[in-house]
Amino acid sequence: MADRERRMTPPYGGVFFARTTVLDAAQVQRALTRISHEIIERNQGLEEVVLVALQTGGVEIARLISRLLFEIDGIDVPVGTLDVALYRDDIGLRPVMPEAATEIPVDLSGKIVVLVDDVLFTGRTIRAALDALTDFGRPRSVQLAVVIDRGHRELPIRPDFVGKNLPTRRDEVVDVNPEGVLLGEMRK
């Protein structure tokens, strides 16, 4: 998880060292349950909702949310995945490789797309994702769900559903997985 962020945080090729546990497994579960309820409430059901997970950090989270949505509302929402490497605005500036599958199972035209990612940071990944989505149709609306909003936005992008707002330093790394959220840094 958070592979992308790890790869893109200097020193490149370093190893993640955790300093603090921000959320434990039960707290992650509760946050995702709340987000699921909020998604249903905001959209008055799940009729037109499609989850689109950002590769790679959002995939596991989206799977968990889709399971929770099914438990709450009995509806199996389609789940897609999106690798935005080819849409990034920093291609050529740092290592960018498309290495995970993009799979959009339905035509997104007219749908409510909920983008799912583990961490919202500069907003550049989401900017790229918004561009990528337009190549798969014209959604009625696009919403954003993240487990952690760590600040430092560089673009006018905000999440619709947030697990936890976490103030961080720029050089820190947030690691999200279903067993918990860790805050730490990369070391060589």
Partner: protein, 317 residues
């Protein structure tokens, strides 16, 4: 892998596997409702084709456009080259225009290497076929097509191990044969070259292949029948006595195709001489003829090459 792609030999197994896996991603892109990504926006790619080419040129052109790069066609027939300007000077000029990559096809063996040595780091030089030396993107797309056929996709560890591939025909003059043999062998396939003595290259014994002059003896053991184009000028050079004689010994005739197991596939880099390397009826009716798939895969494979050289920002060694 450097900033250039001249010969597959420079890539080795890992470099080939990496490009083929990257091609998996671009296959998905080419299947989208809008099969175009902005990855190389603002990059300019010049195409210098000093030799006729339809599919390679169109394939590179489309690959560049699907990555949003700008493509500059260099008119080799009407340019100052015909006024006597040297190719090196032309390359200098194109470089000054701010081009990021040169895609070169030429009938001189080693010319792309020479140009790459001359330009240093930029622009990237991509060999689209030089003489009888090398055609690296054809080797990659042929390997990709076989990986896709046998395994569904290339995957991170593309492999052709356990597969017996025959390369049949004018190996001596074929840059495709050299690049195919290198790619297939690097991915673990067993390769047998089948050609009359007159169409075997003099250094063939140094190649990592088995050698035969008897197609009918080899045919039953093959999983892949890789046909090469026989060029008319070879007849003129008297390397082959007559088309009829060639077809009788080395053509994929209806009778030979009948011997093949159903799952054996036929490849050909195109354009096909119907009725020479490959009988019309076999081309039209046999199920496992992968020629169209080879052409189709040329685009994502070349997208992978262009993105790897121009876009990924990854330091390559």
């Amino acid at each position: 892998m450097s900033k250039h792609l001249i010969n597959l030999e420079d890539l080795e197994r890992e470099g080939i596997q990496e490009l083929l896996h990257l091609a998996d991603r671009f296959v998905e892109v080419t299947q989208r409702p809008i099969p175009k990504v902005p990855a190389l926006r603002g990059r300019t790619i010049a195409m210098l084709f000093f030799e006729d080419s339809t599919r390679t040129r169109m394939s590179f052109d489309l690959a560049a456009k699907r990555l949003s790069a700008d493509v500059l066609e260099f008119p080799t027939h009407t340019s100052s080259l015909s006024k006597g300007e040297s190719i090196q000077d032309t390359v200098e000029t194109i470089h000054s225009l701010g081009v990021d990559a040169l895609i070169i096809r030429h009938n001189l063996n080693g010319l792309p290497q020479e140009i790459a040595d001359g330009v240093g780091e930029a622009p990237s030089v991509i060999n689209a076929g030089d003489g009888s030396n090398s055609h690296p993107t054809q080797g990659l797309l042929d390997a990709y097509t076989l990986c896709e056929h046998f395994h569904g996709s290339a995957g991170p560890q593309a492999s052709l191990s356990g597969i017996h591939i025959g390369i049949i025909g004018d190996v001596k003059h074929s840059r495709v044969a050299r690049s195919d043999v290198y790619a297939y062998n690097a991915l673990g396939a067993t390769v047998t070259v089948v050609a009359p003595k007159s169409l075997q290259p003099s250094d063939l014994t140094d190649w990592p292949v088995k050698i035969s002059e008897d197609l009918d003896a080899v045919l039953p053991t093959l999983d892949v029948v890789g046909l090469l184009r026989i060029q008319n000028e070879r007849m003129e050079e008297a390397l082959v006595h007559s088309i009829d004689e060639y077809v009788e010994s080395y053509g994929m005739t209806e009778a030979r195709a009948a011997v093949l197991r159903d799952e054996v596939v036929i490849t050909h880099p195109g354009p096909v001489n119907r009725g020479v390397e490959l009988a019309e009826t076999v081309l039209e009716n046999r199920k496992n003829v992968l020629i169209k798939q080879q052409v189709k895969n040329g685009v994502p494979v070349r997208m992978a090459v262009l993105f790897r050289l121009l876009g990924s920002g990854v330091e390559i060694d």
